[in-house]
Every structure is written in C-alpha cells, then in structure tokens.
C-alpha cells in the first residue's frame, strides 16, 4: 500500500452509524428542527427599523411629558425559562420584564448606555461593519465602567429587539478551537481546513461561513484546552478519522456554541462531550446541550439537545479502577453546584445522567480526565475513547 489507511475500519463506526440513524429518525419523527422562536436572523434594514422604532417611542414619550423607559425581559430569572427536551432551556413567550427608566437615579445611567450602544449598533449595521463586545467597551471604557455592563446591555438589546447578536453586527470574541475533518470558507473568502496538525480558532462570524464540508462520523466536544491539546498531540483526529474535535476552553463562548449548532444543523452527525467527572464539567456539557439561563432567549440558535455524554463518567471511575489517589474530594461549591444541576428541569428527562451524578454525590469525589493518565499516558486516546466510541459507551 502506498498510504496507510487513516482512521479505523468502517466497522468501527457501526454503532456510531446506528446512533446517527436513530438521531435522524428522531428528527424526522419530530418534524424536523423545532421552529425558531425568540430570535431570528434579521436583515440590516429590519435592524435599523427596529432601532428607529425604539427612538420614536422615546421621543413620543418625551412629547407627552412622560419619562421614556425600556422594557427588558428578565433574562436571568428562572420563572421566565422553560425546558423542552427538543430545544433545551428557552424563554417563555410571556415573561416578566423590568423597566429601565430615564427618570430614576438607579437606572438613568443604564438607560443612557442602552441608547449609546444602540447608536453604535446603528452605525455598525449602516456601514456593514462588525465589532466585538470588547471593541464596544473600549470605545469609552470610562463611560461603560466594565465589560460586564457592555455584555449585559448587548444581550438585553438582542432580547429586546428579538434579533440575534450577530444581526446587531456585534461579534463575540472566540476562544474556541476546532480540529479534524472540516473545511469551510469564511465570509471574507478565506478557505479554512481544520485537518492540520494544529487546531484552528473558531471564527468570529459563524453566520458568515459557507461551504462547510466534512465526512466526520462524529463531533467530540472537549471541555478543557489541555485535554484537547493532548488529543491533538496523540493525533486523535487522524486515528479516529474522520471526526471533528472542538473545545470551548471551559465554559463555551457564543461562537463556539454557534459553530456546534451549525455543524449539527448542517450534518446531523453524533455529537459527544468529553468533560471532567465533576459538577463544573457536567454544567459545561449542559450548556452545549440545553443552553444557559443567560442566553435562553437565543436557545433555538444555540442548543443541541442531541448531544450525548461520552466521558468521563463517574461510573467509569469505579469500572476502570482509577486509583483513588487521583480522585479529588468534592468541595462545598462542588456540592452546591451538583445540587443545583440535579434540580434543573432537564435532568428529569435524563435518568442516566441523574444516576451518574448521584454516584458522584454518594462518593463525594470527582475526577479530571487527566486521571486516566495514571492508567497509561495515552490511555485516553488509545483505549478509553476508541472503546467508548466503538461500543456506544455514551449516555
């Protein structure tokens, strides 16, 4: 043979293929992708008109000698969030709101900052240019005070206008990485091939990427960058080819989530998560799968309920006889987070996940993926993951 075959044999992916078939069948049965609610992609003229309507409302209030106010959905209130297993966490249609008044000492500054950012968005959309949230902040850091203020206001504007952030021409800074069998063309025409030795940064403009091409049998979401790099070093993408790997380097940014969603929507390939066996890792996994409270208003564009938990499962710890010395006791914060996750509405429809979390709660111990290196240095890429993928070891 001139070239050694890349990846395992076709039979290796049999279970994966079956899994994919079942996912597609479920999709067909469910009538396709759930209808997008809450946010939708808006054209530039629609965004400009929406902002102009906001301004007109303000001026009309002033003409009536009434104090203008913004009515903002309470994005971060559980009472405004419901769970659907086809979507994940998303905002209810009639949710509670709060008013940002222009005549209140408490809120007039926020009122002004919302207008400020609206005016900046207006200019961006008009000129068809883009800026990141960080860029927005640095236009007047003294005025804004801190990045969190800017982030919250941008999300509030997105929620208020019912358009996704990317339609506002505000990009989030990507921190995620991609590797594996994936090619695409960015909005500016740049051709990207992720099948290289080093990973590729998740692009800032997910909406703009085109011509996505892949033969991947699965997409593996890796929680930590350290694990991701380790897998790269072990040439995991080659050994398990064709596949794609993504990491958000912890809690994922919006673009990483958008990319995962886009890959699912485009290819419907099985998506698995590889996270630490600790409450934090589980929560990160839930963000990819079901979404977050903060971004629940954009859930339909961000969540992938089809994601499965591949590892590290708490039951793997006992099954693989991972040395107890490598385990770490749960801290008080871990306990609280675990309790919090167990109470979330989506756990009720995930009995296997619940069971795994109960195992963790009972043992009061957690483990990082790196614990597998105590079995052997390349145990993760050589044994653990291949076996899991081949024999359907996901839940």
């Amino acid at each position: 043979m001139a070239f050694a075959p890349r990846g395992p044999e076709a039979s290796f992916f049999q279970v994966l293929d079956q899994h994919r078939a079942s996912l597609l069948a479920a999709l067909r049965k469910g009538g396709g992708e759930p209808a997008g609610g809450g946010t939708r992609l808006a054209t530039s003229s629609e965004v400009l008109a929406a902002i102009e309507n906001v301004i007109q409302d303000i001026i009309t209030s002033l003409a009536r000698n009434e104090a203008p106010a913004f009515t903002i959905d309470n994005r971060s209130s559980w009472e405004n969030i419901k769970f659907e297993d086809s979507v994940g966490l998303h905002m209810v249609s009639h949710c509670t709101t709060r008013k940002i008044k222009s005549d209140s000492p408490k809120s007039v500054k926020t009122f002004a900052l919302i207008l400020k950012i609206l005016s900046m968005i207006y200019k961006l959309v008009q000129s068809n240019t883009y800026a990141t949230k960080r860029d927005i902040y640095y236009t007047d850091s003294q005025l804004f005070g801190n990045q969190t203020v800017v982030d919250n206001i941008i999300n509030d504007i997105s929620c208020m206008l019912k358009v996704p952030r990317r339609s506002l021409h505000i990009l989030s800074t990507s921190k995620g990485l991609i590797a594996g069998d994936l090619r695409y063309i960015e909005e500016d025409g740049t051709k990207v091939n992720c099948a290289c030795a080093t990973a590729v940064a998740v692009p800032s403009n997910i909406q703009g990427i085109q011509n996505l091409i892949t033969d991947a049998k699965f997409l593996l979401i890796v929680e930590k960058d350290a694990t991701f790099q380790r897998l790269l070093d072990d040439s995991f993408c080659t050994k398990m080819s064709p596949c794609i790997m993504v990491t958000g380097k912890g809690a994922p940014d919006l673009n990483t989530r958008l990319l995962v969603k886009k890959l699912w929507d485009t290819f419907h390939i099985p998506i698995f998560t590889l996270v630490d066996a600790d409450p934090h890792g589980i929560e990160i996994m839930c963000i990819y799968k079901y979404g977050s409270m903060a971004m629940s208003f954009e859930a339909h564009n961000l969540t992938v309920p089809a994601i499965r938990w591949l590892g590290l499962l708490p039951s793997d710890i006992k099954r693989l006889n991972i040395p107890k010395g490598t385990l770490i006791p749960l801290t008080k914060q871990d306990q609280m987070k675990l309790d919090s996750v167990l109470k979330r509405p989506y756990i009720t429809c995930q009995p296997f996940w619940r069971k795994e979390m109960e195992i963790m709660a009972d043992s009061k111990m957690k483990a990082e993926i790196q614990a597998l290196t105590f079995l052997s240095s390349d145990y993760l890429s050589r044994v653990y993951l291949p076996n899991k993928l081949k024999f359907g070891g996901w839940i």
């Binding site: 400009l48 008109a49 902002i51 102009e52 301004i55 007109q56 303000i58 001026i59 009309t60 002033l62 003409a63 000698n65 009434e66 104090a67 709060r98 940002i100 222009s102 005549d103 209140s104 000492p105 408490k106 809120s107 007039v108 500054k109 926020t110 009122f111 002004a112 900052l113 207008l115 400020k116 609206l118 005016s119 207006y122 200019k123 008009q126 005025l143 005070g145 801190n146 969190t148 203020v149 919250n152 206001i153």
Partner: protein, 574 residues
Amino acid sequence: MEGTAVAVCEILKYLIIHWRCETARISKGALLEGELVISIEALNSKHQANTLHCVTTTVNILKRVASAGSIFGGLVLKKILKEIQSILPGLSAELSWTSEETSYSQDVSGVTPFQMIFEVHEKPRTLMTDSLVIKNFLRKVITVLPKIRFNFSVKVNGILSMEIFGAENEPTLNLSNGIALVVNHQHYVSTPKFGATELLCSRIHPVLGHPVMLFIPDDVAKMGLLGELILTPAAALCPCPKVFSNQLNRISSASIFLYGPSGLPLILLNPEQPTSTIFKDTSYFINWKKHHLCMVPNLDFNLDRDLVLPDVSYQVESSEGDQTQNMDPQGQTLLLFLFVDFHSGFPVQKMELWGVHTLLTTHLSAILTESHSVVQDSIQVAVDQALEQHHHAVKAHQKLQASLSVAVNSIMSIMTGSTSSSFRKTCLQTLQAADTQEFGTKLHKSFHEITQNRFLHHCSREVKQLLPEKNNAEQSTEDAHENSSLELLAGTSGQVENKSLKRGSLRQGVEETRAFRSPRALNPSEAALGRAEPTAAPLTPSRNRTGPRSGLEDALWLQEISNLSEWLSPGSAS
C-alpha cells in the same frame, strides 16, 4: 433699642413661658395653640415735637387645655401683671390689663381673652424699627411654635398696617418638649431669588445633631441655675438639595438661629449690634475648611425682609481660584438651628424658666465658650451631614446630567445619521422642532424636565407615604438624635407642589405707608400727614393652608439620600 420692641417681645416671651408651664402640667410636650394680637396705635404727641404717643395693646387669646379650666383666671391675671411689671422695670409706661371677652374669641372655644396695654413716647423712626424688630421676633416664634398665631397691627395717625403671622398648617419637624420646626423653605429664603420654574421642593430637611449638655461657668451657675442646659443643633440646606437647579451647585451662605427653652428666640435682633460676639469668629464652632468653604460674617443687616432673619449670618468668601465655578451669588444657604432646652428633673416653674431664659440671653457667649468642645462636635456632625447631602446631590446631579447628555447625543446620532426621511420627519414633528438643532435643544430640555418632575414626585410621594400624624412630642434626647424618631407633619398630598405656596405671614389689606418699608426711608412728614389711604376694614386673616398633612418618618428622606449614593457607586446599572 428701647421701648416698644423690647416691651412687646418681653411680654410675649413671658406669656408664652407662662403658657408653656401651665400647659406642661397637663399635657407635657403638647404644642401651644392660640392667638395673640398686638396692636400699636400711634398719634402725634401733643407735648413733644416729632414724637409719637404709642399705645400698645396685646390681646391674648389662649386656647384652653382640655379640662384644665382657665389658665388665666382673674387672680392669675393680677399676678401676671405684677410679674411682668417686675421684669420690665425700665418700662416707664403704665401697664394695665382687662379681661373682657372680645370678638377675637368668636372662632375659638374655651378661651379667656385678656389684654395688656402700655404707653410710650417714641420717635417715628424708632417706632418703625421697633415694628420691624417685633415682626422678626414673631416670625422667629412661629417657626418653632407654629400653632400660635400673631395678629400684629400698627396704626400711625390713622393709617393701618396689619400682618398675620402663623404657620398652623405648614409641614413641621417635631422636636422635643413641645416645639416643632417649620420646614417650609419660604420662611428662610425668598422664592423669587430662585425663579418659579427652578424650585420644585418647598421644604428644608433638617438633620439633627447630638444633644449635648452645656457646661455652665461658675459665675453663671451662682446666679441660681439649678438644672441642665441641653443644646440640640439642627442643620438643613435651603432650598432642598434634592431638586436641583443650575444655580444651586454651591453653598453661598450660612444662617444661624438661636432658640432657648419654650422655643423662644434668644437674641432680639439689634441693628446696632448685628452679630453676637462669639459668632464673629466663623470657625469657632464649625470647621468650614473640610467642606472647602471660607465663611466670613455677613454684615448686611436689613430688618425689612419678609423672612426669618438669622441671629448670625455668614457668607461664603469667593476666592480668585473660583473663576471656573458657577459664581452665581444665589446658591444654597446652610441653616443651623441651635435649640437650648432646660431640664431640672422637676416640673419647671415659670419664673425659673424665665430666669433661665434671661441667663441665656445675657450669658450666651460665656456658656457656649465654656462648652466649646462639645458644642463644636455636635454642631459639626449636623453640619457635616447636611453638607454631605449637598455633596451627594451635586454628584447625583452631575451623574444625571452626564447620563442625559449621553442619551441625548445617542438619539441625535441615530436621528441625524438615519437615511429614512420619514423617520427623521416624524422625530422633528413629534417634538415640534424645525430642524435638528432645535430638535436637540428640545430633546435635552424634555429630559431635564421629566427628571426634575421625578424628583418632585419623589418629594411629594414621601408625603403620601406618611404615617398618621402623631402627637409624639415627648422624645428623649437620644431619640431626638435618632432620625427614626423624627416626625414630619405635613398636609394633604399634592399641595406641596404648589409653586404659589404662601407663607405663614400674610400681608393683607390696607396699603402700607411708605414709612414702614425701610427704617431708613422714613419720611416723618409723610407719616404725619397721612398721605396714604385711610383705615381699611378689619381683615379676616386667611390662613396659609398649603402643604400636605400626614405623618412622615424622616427616615424616608434619609433613605432617599442613601439612594442618591447609587449615583456614585460604579457599575450601578440595573
């Protein structure tokens, strides 16, 4: 200064002290209610040139305390007359009294009116000065004894001038021992100074300092003072710092008012000696430097003003470095009220209280000097808190202005940058602006107005959330220090917003002679010839009835101040 003014004021003081002692036996801490009529009738003397024969009559209509019987029975009145004669040995005029019921009692039940009369001979200019001194005294009394009404009339050669002094339905701040401070700012500053559109909160919001016991010099104590003198300061900015005007971003003056037991003024204003010695050093009791203020005595002494004139007046000395600041001379005034009360552990007797008052008026400087440290600490706390309100208000205002500026600029940016002519047109039409420049001006003005209205609504809404009016005049000195024990009596809602709020002192009816405009402007010949209109009919006093009425925890005001601190905290966006 001699004659009529001193006599009238001393008589009134005596009567109020008597009244206070009698009332305290039945209802300690109750506010005195009633009316006193002072009338001076002057005619050209038949025996002396350029001299007026003045007959002063005080008619005292006193409200009977429930089930107390008459405070002024026949024998009591004789005794009172003797006592008054003994305290006014220098009054050469004859003092007499009658106890006939008069028409004044028609609207007051259970009263025993009586009147005292004395006669003096005075120069017209002296009479005019005396009238102004008396009026100022009356204004001072009603600001702490708001339920007493004074009807003061002066008739010179047939020309009548009458004023009614009262603050019965005005909002007040209850203090201990049956006195209440009127908090309507119009008693202390003149409204036209700030313009009708600028000033939307008509109250001052006093902050009480710690009550402190005064040390009494040995030589004073030897005069028979058996008991404790307690000083309680109260400081307030006037006008209200919450509702901001561009003119009110600095402190321009300070006024000090001194009150003794029973809410009686300690100092009778004397044009010949405007400032008490101890207060000539502006920083003797107050460290102004920590607030970046440089105070100098204000020597402008003009009795002829419709305000409660302070006993001590300071003004801020502007420095050369202040050119960049708003040098508008108006600014805010810091009002400082010093209340001295007397406690002896026993029910205070009338003559004892009179003696205390006399001691205080004659030895005030010595007593305050002896107690300099504690007085300074107590006053400083109250002043610091009051000025802190000002600083907070200034910063809050600056923050508000900055926010509104951002809002306006953002709207202008969108409006002027829009390519939609229909949008731009609609914006201009909505604000009735001809062009974008006018639009911007109107936009800014609109935002400014609604925020000002909001603060006004806040002021009046505090009133609406008031507790029921309480008669909680019995407050310990510790409670007086605790803001939660303060009560603000106020009238019905909405009234406080009335810009045409009238003061307690009404000047009604008959045209006054020019002779009484200013003590310096008197033209005796004009007064003598009686060139003004003849006597008018007796006037029915119309009460000054604005202001909401219900009880208010002053903690609401302090809560509002604490809310203002949110302006200052970073990341305070909600």
